[in-house]
Amino acid sequence: MHGVHGRALVVDLASGTAQPFPIPDDVFRRVLGGTGLATWLLLRFAPPRVDPQSPANPFVLATGPFIGTGLTTSSKLAIATTSPQTGFIGDSLTSSYFALVLRRTGFDALVLLGQAPDWSVLLVEDDRVSLRPAHDLLGLDPEETAGRLRAEFGRDLRVAAIGRAGERLVRFAAVVNDGRLAGRTGPGAVLGTKRLKAIAIRGTGRFPPVADPAAVARAARRLAERSLGPETAKYRELGTVANLVFFSRLGVLPTRNFAAGSFPAAETLAGERLATAHRADRQACAACTVGCEHHFRTTDDGPATTVRLEYESLFALGSLCGIDDPNVVLRAAALCDRYGMDAISAGGTVAWAMECVERGIALPGDPAEWPRFGDGRSLLRTLEAIGERRSPLGDLLAEGSRRAADIVGQGSHAWAMHVKGLELPGYHPRKLRAMALGFAVTPRGACHNRTSAYEIDFSERAGDEVDRIALATARSEDRSAVLDALPLCKFLRHCFDDFFAEAAELLRLVTGLAESAEELRTAGERIVTLKKLFNLRQGWTRADDTLPERLLGPDGIDPAELEALVAAYYRIRGWTPDGLVPITRLHELGIDPLLVPTTSGC
């Protein structure tokens, strides 16, 4: 098979040694690569019911066949591990050079097992690995860490690092490479558990040859041209921050910990206003022609700060916390980057604490230090406390909203806005039935990236009957899984007339696999089902596929309707009414050959 190396490098962190691990072509045919490959490797190497914070929890970094082919937006790295937030699969994507360099080591993936004897940097140079002591790097932010290592080992080295939040095992700590964060589900905390401050990679080999180089080059040119069309102009010109004021207008902007769907001060945080008053520059990931990454600068009297801002960080650190000052939001986003924390979970957890304070529920520590809705200084102070796990309050909130509510009690679970332990992104499900379903059932918890179900709500299909909404939601998940596996950026999805057919043709040109559109769609469903199988092994139950209490009722979705949607989704997936995956369904999807019994219990 073309387009892949056919092997992973499995690293034993305890000894600092590594062994190649063959990956049969059949695995790539069934799960493609990227998130699909990472999920398969996680299932293969994780013991059942693995504790996310134990050395036995594998940490997988995987590439996909499109990386290095010249196909625009394909330089994406997939990470899979067991999430310290959810206890289920934690899969996260990050972009840019790290994925390209990993691909040039001669391996499709890295699997990190065990725990380093002391704080270390894992250095991977082609097929050689070593551990470099990392005590001199502790306390540095991810960018500083990468700078030190590249100065020491060479500029061709690429680095994925954790910040202080990862060192301190903040459950929503991110892994940061090339200025991009793999933040959702807390992979940075897993690296912290493994005592890895960073992974530094140098790959000097070639990308695996593609099946039809001339045709791939032509296809890459065509895709690049399409990526510069009107379908992606919004990402280039304004970025995702444009969503905020529109969402507020529609009543779906999470505000003050989801107590409301509109923010009276939305115009002060409007993307259009940020673009005119705060814009600094625009950047692109490696091998990307879209260039969606917009940087904004502060304009107040404080220290000058420039930071990347997306809609998700804007809502989570803005309206969700009742903050209407764009300078505060920019400083908060910069803090999350510096500490290496997922901004959605950080904002969601602080918003939970703000509501506790508003309701008169005591938090640990000095009441003068507690965060309050609309109080920018308290937001910034609390984020620092979390990133450092400083003070009893910071230590509590570093656990995320679900565990913090476990500890504080007093009914505070009612406003802990998470699914499976993962805080909700910026879509208030009050008017979004498909998104409500997507949040409830997606294996990694409340997520807008593993399902683009909001597209159904924001279309003429919004009023469809339950079965059609559930079917469209499942197909949206399948498409996202394929995009994450090839990989291609989701911002390209509107550039295709028939995504599965056109992506299948690209796959044929790269790998030689002659998959039909439906077979490629099935690969997406297979990947979603593999994630589900991992969750089942971790103890998933039907009760996990739900929404926070606040959203079940007039302020969200009718519980009976959500039940009907979930039941329809299970039927469409071929699962039992309890959400279990029958053996017959594994056969139908061609998953059973992937589930090889191993000594690790897979």
Binding site: G229, P230, E231, T232, A233, K234, Y235, E237, L238, T240, A242, N243, V245, F246, F247, R249, L250, G271, E272, A275, Y454, E455, I456, D457, F458, S459, E460, A462, R493, H494
Partner: protein, 95 residues
């Protein structure tokens, strides 16, 4: 000042707002297709990026919300007082 109820309220969000240089305008048009013509004449900056001049219709990736309902049907009838939002489909899509 009271709003003229014989007019449509048209609101721009995201890139259309940036290009038009405003959030809200009033207009008269019997259908969305006619409204697109009106907007093209009043805001030439929308041509190319938001409106396809050759088709006289929205480019793929842009959508109207008419009284709370997402649509790309150019024959959608508009009545005085109708609220129309024009937005880039980054907040979703119709495909």
């Amino acid at each position: 000042m009271a709003r003229d109820t014989s007019m449509l309220s048209v609101e721009f969000y995201g890139l259309p707002a940036l290009l038009a240089g405003r959030r809200r305008v009033e207009a008269t048009a019997p259908t969305l297709r006619a409204l697109v013509q009106v907007l093209a004449e009043r805001f030439p900056a929308l041509l190319g990026t938001v409106i396809d001049p050759s088709e006289g219709w929205l480019n793929r990736g842009y959508v109207f919300v008419v009284d709370g309902r997402f649509t790309r049907d150019p024959e959608t009838e508009l009545r005085p007082g109708t609220e129309v939002l024009l937005v880039a489909a980054q907040a979703g899509g119709v495909r």
